[in-house]
Subunit: 88 residues, 2 copies
Amino acid sequence: MELSGVDILGYVAGLITAFTFLPQVLKTWKTKSAKDVSLAMFLIALTNQILWLAFGILRADPVIIITNAVMLFMTSIMIALKLKYNHS
Amino acid sequence: MELSGVDILGYVAGLITAFTFLPQVLKTWKTKSAKDVSLAMFLIALTNQILWLAFGILRADPVIIITNAVMLFMTSIMIALKLKYNHS
């Protein structure tokens, strides 16, 4: 398997994408306050990740599958935290 | 140009991705409060969108270019709002 520079850029972008929501999850977990966070943003992200996951599975593309599985997991935690700490 | 079902799924996912951050921008704009929002999340997103934009340009892929140009614009606004309303 040979990787071009363009492929490597795609993998790096995929890896960073996977952890985009981690700082928000950690912040909300720590402060127990999610009043200012938009629930709609995470619901759109959830819908989007399910679509990307389906796309990745249909294309049999491991980078898309892994990236979106990780994001789906973090987004689900964030939605739960938002619902729990919405009024704190 | 013929589009497969898989391609269409990719375009729909791209379109939804582009507007993920819009509800957060509107919410912060309206409430003038961004204390609970993670700056790190948007800085990671910004880095990520720049990489995806470069990837899209190198691949000459209009969907990736447009999606990430829109996201880059919204993320920049959100970072400005976060810095402005951080302590409200």
